[in-house]
Amino acid sequence: MITNPASKIYSSINALPEIKNRREKTSGTSGMMSPLLKKTNMPTNKNSIEKEPAFIVAKIQQRIKKDRQEIKDMKDAT
């Protein structure tokens, strides 16, 4: 039997909370010691989730959804 998983997959991705863009950490230090105090952007395990395909898909979906909502709002306003 051919099944259509579309509705379940869409509902699962759509139910995810909003993914916000992470702000780059800035040390804000200056002077001779600044190179030592500067936080390096070393790859961490926390960043690895952002490379997951499902995470990328959720991000793209949320971006399109946002655009769609804006179009909807504009239409409602006019």
């Binding site: 579309a6 509705s7 509902s11 959720a58």
Partner: protein
């Protein structure tokens, strides 16, 4: 389809062996291997004027978006554009893009998600918690008689009298 209904919509045994291995597009390495490129491919394809016009027409006919999205990604797999897993992951992106086109055109479309209303997260959570509590209560009921029985067995154990030659007399 009814559960007892016979389905003839399935591959014939040996159907996959009617061609040389690698002769079909889906048996070749996929053109697109990551979701970023796949999303770009589908968004570009859907945003095309001709496609969008046909899509709006299809939406007006009442075809659910889930069906269109699934057909699109399946066609991509069959053409060897991407693998099955990338195709499955593309479904939300395809659906959302189609909804955007539908909203922009002011079409009243069917998402095909109506059946999933029952699977509301709160309902699922409540059901899961209820089930857990029930199983915990069942476990308690099962445990209590076993404990009582074991205590009773210890109490009823017959006292064996020492009858040997070397046994200590009391």
């Amino acid at each position: 389809m009814q559960p007892n209904e016979q389905s003839f919509d399935r591959p014939i045994p040996g159907m996959s062996l009617t061609h040389e291995l690698g002769a079909r597009p889906w048996q070749q390495p996929a053109d697109i291997t990551n979701v970023d490129d796949a999303a770009e491919y589908y968004i570009t394809q859907i945003a095309d004027d001709t496609f969008a016009k046909n899509l709006i027409h299809t939406m007006k006919m009442g075809v659910p978006l889930t069906t269109i999205a699934n057909s699109l990604q399946l066609a991509g797999v069959m053409e060897g554009k991407h693998s099955v897993d990338v195709g499955i992951l593309m479904i939300p992106v395809i659906m959302e893009t189609m909804m955007l086109i539908g909203d922009a055109a002011g079409v009243d479309y069917d998402t095909g998600l109506a059946d999933n209303k029952e699977l509301d997260q709160n309902v699922v959570t409540t059901a899961t918690i209820g089930k857990l509590l029930q199983s915990e209560a069942d476990n308690k009921d099962m445990m209590e008689p076993v404990q009582e029985q074991s205590v009773q067995e210890v109490q009823d154990e017959p006292v064996i009298e020492n009858t040997g030659l070397m046994s200590r007399r009391t």
